[in-house]
């Protein structure tokens, strides 16, 4: 058993930290206030930053180099997400939706032709991906998907509404889950499609005005009779639900890594303040109330770090990881929220001020308990896996 990062991973961390601190950190206010426009005329991230991210292959870290990626695997991707989320949860969210689930679904289930056509430009960062699962009536209950795909000759015609879609307004490619056989539902009746945003009928309606991660564009996507050629079916017809769930199993690990980065930053800030701030004649680090908060923060962060990188290792070595990935997402998001809350408490009123990064971090952290499957869904995934091994199949 060896728990150390390899020299390669250590140098990758240095590379990602350098990128995050030198390219992203100076732009966080600009990203937060979301004043930039994308090629579709909707809000997105600064174009020059996205270009730089593409140049350094930040948008394709886990994918093999023959598909335009960095070839750093899930472990490399988790290091990236940790480093990016330390600096900008908004930017990390855009990368996560693009790489961790959007492009990832094509990598996992795409044909060689689909990988060459779509994954290569996505991994190179020349195009942006979105992952269109959620609908107004189908959030946690993804099996209640209503978007229809009706076969017409060599194509499918897609009709429906997807919402809360990260990158929806800036994507060139969206992976969409739709019903091909309503009678079968999720078990054989849903299919995944690779849809280009430039195709007729792909419409962006409202942009969400969110509490946090305000620099990441989230919008509603309306599919109004979009004609999708048959060769853009991702995976097998009828097995789209499987493709989507399998993709989320990988994406959740990266989300845990992002939470780890966010939490670590909060601990770093809290420690810095505790040794600087003086009250009752000395630094507040001497107060047991502060020490215990800091110790609890550190304990949870260390547990999360071990969990995240063990799960990444399981993915990289081809082991089943559904339960562990759900635990990464569940535990990671809750640790990040708890640690952020404690850091804010240590800063006191100063932490509540918008002049300090804690207020934004507090708002940014909250979404991780909700998106990519609410934490309630993660608990169902974990419990299902436990009971399945006892021969009991539980249903939500």
């Amino acid at each position: 058993m060896d728990f150390s990062f390899s020299k390669e991973h250590q140098l990758l961390r240095k590379a990602f930290r350098e990128f995050a601190e030198q390219e992203v950190a100076p732009r966080v206010d600009e990203i937060e206030h979301n004043t930039h426009t994308s090629s579709l005329g909707k809000s997105g991230l600064p174009a020059d930053l996205m270009k730089k991210a593409a140049e350094y292959r930040v948008m394709g870290v886990p994918f093999p180099q023959e598909y335009g990626g960095m070839g750093a695997g899930e472990t490399g991707y988790c290091i990236l997400m940790e480093e990016l989320n330390r600096v900008s949860p908004s930017f990390a969210t855009v990368v996560g939706a693009h790489t961790g689930i959007g492009a990832m679904s094509i990598y996992l289930d795409g044909t060689e032709e689909q990988k060459q056509r779509y994954l290569v430009p996505l991994a190179r960062g020349e195009q942006i991906a979105a992952f269109a699962l959620t609908e107004p009536g189908a959030g946690s209950d993804a099996a209640a998907t209503r978007t229809r795909a009706v076969r017409e000759g060599d194509s499918y015609i897609l009709d429906g509404t997807k919402h809360y879609i990260t990158n929806g307004s800036i994507c060139e490619v969206a992976v969409v889950l739709a019903l091909t056989d309503p009678a079968l539902g999720p078990r054989g009746g849903m299919t995944a499609f690779i849809v280009e945003s430039q195709w007729e009928g792909f419409k962006i309606s409202k942009l969400e005005d969110k509490m946090g991660i305000r620099g990441s564009p989230t919008c509603e996507v309306v599919l109004d009779g979009v004609r999708v050629p048959q060769e853009n079916v991702l995976g097998q017809v009828g097995l789209g639900f499987v493709t989507f769930m399998k993709t989320l199993d990988v994406g959740r690990t990266g989300l845990g890594a992002a939470s780890l980065g966010g939490a670590q930053r909060m601990l770093d800030l809290a420690v810095e303040w505790a040794v600087t701030r003086e009250a009752f004649g000395g630094p507040i680090a001497h107060k047991q109330s502060i020490q215990w908060m800091v110790a609890d923060m550190a304990a949870e962060i260390e547990a999360l770090r071990s969990l995240v990188y063990r799960t990444a290792w399981m993915i990289d070595t081809g082991q089943p990881h559904t339960r562990e990935a759900a635990i990464c997402k569940l535990y990671g998001s809750e640790v990040c929220s708890r640690v952020t809350d404690k850091a804010l408490q240590i800063y006191g009123a100063l932490g509540y001020s918008r002049h300090m990064p804690l207020e934004r971090a507090f708002r940014d952290a909250r979404i991780s308990e909700i998106f990519e499957g609410t934490n309630e869904i993660q608990r169902i995934v974990i419990a299902s896996d436990i009971f399945q091994k006892q021969g009991v199949r539980i249903r939500p």
């Binding site: 390669e8 140098l11 590379a15 350094y56 292959r57 180099q65 070839g71 750093a72």
Partner: protein, 243 residues
């Protein structure tokens, strides 16, 4: 207050070794030559213990084509100096062959001596231009450089020293890091490979003491609203008769 403290020992942070910052600027200058000349090759050359291998792989990650390491267990016990290091590096440059430009960081962060580049140029018998901020032009036979005050030129082959902050080094490319660690080994030479014996490395100089660099004093932080801060600034500038 500016002053020197005498220090018995300088504690090294053993958690992380870094490439000397000025060397990163020298590497960036070399990579810019390569950006402009398709057939140019950039070779990162390191001298030191086995761990220097990681610094060379970082150089590959930033864009160098090859890394070469001079490493020998005998060196650990030798008290050599910049002259000895220059002999070793010069031998390696000859071994590589067909080198027409050597770029060195002007001063090393840990010693602050800045002695090595001059010694190396001497050992090679090449002209040296120091404190080069940018290469203005490079031809088959000469290099034209911008220094802080003047521009200078030298015949090739030549050695240039590059000060810290002469340019903004590019970041590390993750894909190059992956290839640097999975691709192949960093070529390594020992003293025998370079035809040098420990006797050739007799030091010409000795370190006779160490001290901390001058302490920097922190500036004054102006508190309060913008108006209050401006008023305070003006008052302080007037008090010092600067305005």
């Amino acid at each position: 207050m500016t002053g020197y403290h005498s220090a018995e020992r300088i504690f090294v942070n053993r958690e992380e070794y870094i490439i000397n910052p000025a060397d990163l600027n020298a590497l960036e200058m070399a990579l810019r030559v390569k950006d402009e000349n398709d057939d140019a090759q950039v070779i990162a050359l390191g001298l030191g213990p086995a761990r220097v291998d990681n610094a060379l792989r970082e150089a590959l990650g930033r864009g160098a084509d090859r890394g070469m390491l001079i490493s020998d267990s005998a060196l650990a016990d030798l008290k050599t100096d910049a002259a000895g290091a220059a002999r070793l590096l010069a031998a390696a440059v000859h071994e590589i062959g067909d080198v027409n430009l050597v770029l060195c960081g002007a001063v090393a962060l840990d010693s602050g001596a800045g002695e090595l580049p001059g010694r190396l140029a001497h050992a090679l018998g090449w002209p040296m231009l120091s404190e080069v901020y940018a290469i203005e032009e490079i031809t088959d036979t000469s290099v034209h450089c911008a220094q802080q005050i003047v521009s200078s030129e030298a015949d090739l082959p030549a050695l240039l020293t590059v000060p810290r902050d002469a340019n903004q080094p590019r970041h590390i490319y993750g894909a190059r890091v992956v290839n640097a660690y999975r691709g192949g080994e960093i070529a390594a030479w020992n003293l025998d490979d370079l035809g040098i014996s420990p006797d050739d490395l007799e030091p010409l100089t000795r370190v006779s003491g160490r001290r901390f660099p001058p302490e920097r004093t922190l500036g004054t932080r102006l508190e309060g609203s913008l108006d209050e801060a401006v008023e305070s600034l003006v008052t302080q500038l007037r008090a010092r008769e600067l305005i």
